[in-house]
């Protein structure tokens, strides 16, 4: 028996998300009184792999197959399926990110395993396997029971946190059996944005809405993001208008994020916008309309003009950080 966790790497390196997933898997393994086994695909150094032990993995299955350098949903699902069978997994943990959403549903069918998608906390009980999660775009919570003997959970990034337990993971080579048939999609061209903090990774997010009036006013917002080490985001009309790139759009139809701090400048707080940000641990709203619905979701607020508040905020943060 085991809890299996897929730890994705980025150019051979794990990131905080990987450690968070292992921490989460390990906590579930504790509830089931079993061990945590990680699966890693691609070229990752032994030092990186053994370090997964610090968060609770007792072993890590390392898969090397050049064909897996691209994400091919079917092939990845096959790798995890074979790992789950080999380790007799009761639970498989993945991130609720691009990869998890691509692979989890296929794996679910292979394992006949029910999926708890986008979970943010530990199961309420493992017998029956019960989870509390958001439903209806965050307008409600649902308690769900996964009835299958194997379950898949995809964890919302930054919702559980990293927990160090100490330890070293043993590395095992793992050679799953993959057929040509598993590789029927291929990437022909990649365009990547580099040097920016990814919105989904960010612990602090500074976001602007239509109240920012136009793309020419984003300089102070970006400057605030820089001094805070934050990523920038926006509401949907802002990306629809082309004021900001589409990957910054948060909300029901954009990215769903759970940073520690979300700062909304000139965002009214429509229900569809809140659907993407309401899991943030702290929300700060700056809006000139005291009745804007964003204040009902916010923890701290200023009724005022974003263009006046921004430079003062930058100065205050600089001062606090001793810059």
């Amino acid at each position: 028996m085991s809890v299996l966790v897929y730890t994705e790497n980025w150019d051979g390196k794990f990131k905080k998300l990987s450690y968070e997933l292992v921490s989460y898997a390990h906590a579930i393994a504790g509830m089931l009184d079993t061990e945590t086994v990680a699966v890693s695909v691609g070229d990752v150094s032994d030092t990186e792999l053994t370090a997964l032990g610090k968060y609770g993995a007792s072993r890590v299955l390392s898969v090397q197959d050049a064909r897996l350098s691209q994400l091919v949903n079917q092939a990845y699902a096959s790798v995890l399926y074979q790992a789950a069978i080999r380790e007799n997994a009761q639970v498989v943990v993945m991130a609720n990110n691009f990869t998890g959403k691509a692979v989890a549903p296929r794996l679910s069918v292979k394992l006949k395993a029910g999926v708890g998608a986008g979970v943010a906390g530990l199961p309420l009980s493992v017998e029956p396997f019960t989870i509390h999660k958001k439903a209806f775009n965050g307008k409600a919570f649902a308690t769900i029971v996964i009835k299958s003997p194997v379950r898949i959970l995809t964890l919302l990034q930054n919702s559980f946190g990293v927990k160090e337990t100490g330890g070293v993971a043993a590395i095992e080579e793992f050679l799953p059996d993959l057929a040509e048939h598993d590789f029927r999609t291929s990437v022909e061209e990649v365009s990547k944005i580099t040097g920016k903090i990814l919105l989904t990774d960010a612990e602090v997010v500074v976001s602007g809405g239509r109240g920012m009036k136009g793309p020419e006013n984003w300089a102070p917002l970006e400057e605030l993001a820089r001094v805070l080490g934050a990523a920038t985001a926006c509401s949907r009309p802002v990306s629809d208008e082309g004021w900001r790139p589409h990957e910054e759009h948060t909300g029901q139809t954009g990215k769903i994020i759970a940073p520690n701090l979300y700062m909304a400048f000139g965002i009214s707080g429509a229900i569809q916008h809140l659907a993407g940000v309401s899991s943030s641990k702290c929300i700060v709203a700056i809006n000139k309309d005291p009745d804007a619905p964003i204040f009902e979701a916010a923890d701290y607020g200023i009724v005022g003009d974003a263009m006046k508040v921004l430079p003062e905020m930058i100065a205050a943060v600089r001062e606090m950080k001793g810059e």
Binding site: L71, S108, V115, K134, K147, N260, Y300, A316
Partner: protein, 249 residues
């Protein structure tokens, strides 16, 4: 070539959610049902492709799993322009069962491209498309923001963390589509609405259900503590609060 659009019927996004029977059932009283916005965009894109000269796409079908009460939504899809529709006569429950019902209903129908919206806006699952592909043992591409046809072959773009990839893929396949696939959903025309009444809607009986996930209870989020207001001319105090009280910067 033929395209299939998997469509779910969801409460309008501004619906106030309420529950009944001791918070075990979603109360549908007064709920306005709409086509899942993503599925609507997928349908729009499929119709654009069909209209493109030389694309080789002859037919666009919509399929949904649901009881007779979902038919108004199906008629709307037909009014927007789908050629025909299939309804699997079963109450939609968990993603696994819905995907299996769809896969079984169309297994021998020979669709070249199956499109699903990234996430149905009721239970936030984002799972059905990938599951269908696995049931049918065909490739899947997720987070798709563009589908085009070139010389009878499909090209898709997908959004990865911090970038975009262009892929070639062998049909038949499933595309799970998201933002960008089409800009605005197509609106039914008067003529479309008239024609929809006579377009074929086939009702298929379900295979025996297999449900892996059960929703046993719902609740509304706890009321949030009141927002702490800071004066506009006192931004420094807010930053201090975030540092000392909230401890996040």
């Amino acid at each position: 070539m033929k395209i299939l659009i998997c469509m779910s019927n969801v409460p309008d996004t501004t619906t106030k959610v309420r529950f009944k029977d001791g918070n075990t059932v979603f109360d549908t009283t007064g709920v306005q049902w709409i086509i899942n916005p993503w599925d609507e965009l997928a349908l729009t894109r499929a119709l654009q492709l069909k209209e493109e000269p030389g694309s080789g796409i002859e037919k666009v079908t919509v399929i949904t799993v649901g009881l007779a009460d979902v038919e108004p939504t199906i008629r709307k899809a037909l009014a927007i322009g789908a050629d025909d529709a299939i309804r699997v006569n079963s109450q939609a429950t968990d993603a696994y069962d819905v995907a299996r019902q769809i896969a079984e209903a169309i297994r021998s129908e020979g669709y070249d491209l199956i499109m699903c919206g990234i996430e149905s806006s009721d239970y936030n699952n984002s799972m059905v498309g990938g599951m269908i592909s696995e049931f049918l043992d065909i490739p899947s591409v997720s987070s798709v923001s563009s589908v085009t046809v070139e010389n009878g072959r499909f090209k898709v773009k997908r959004e990865i963390d911090g970038g975009k990839e262009t892929l070639s893929v062998t049909a038949p396949f499933v595309a799970i589509v998201q933002k960008g696939i089409a800009l605005e959903p197509r609106i039914p025309s008067m003529r479309g609405i008239m024609m929809a009444r006579t377009k074929p809607l086939k009702v298929v009986e379900p295979v025996a259900p297999e449900v892996l996930v059960e929703h046993i209870r719902y609740e509304l989020p706890p009321a949030k503590a009141k927002c702490r207001m800071v004066a506009e001319d006192n931004v420094r105090e807010l930053v201090q609060l975030l540092h000392t009280e909230a401890k996040i910067i």
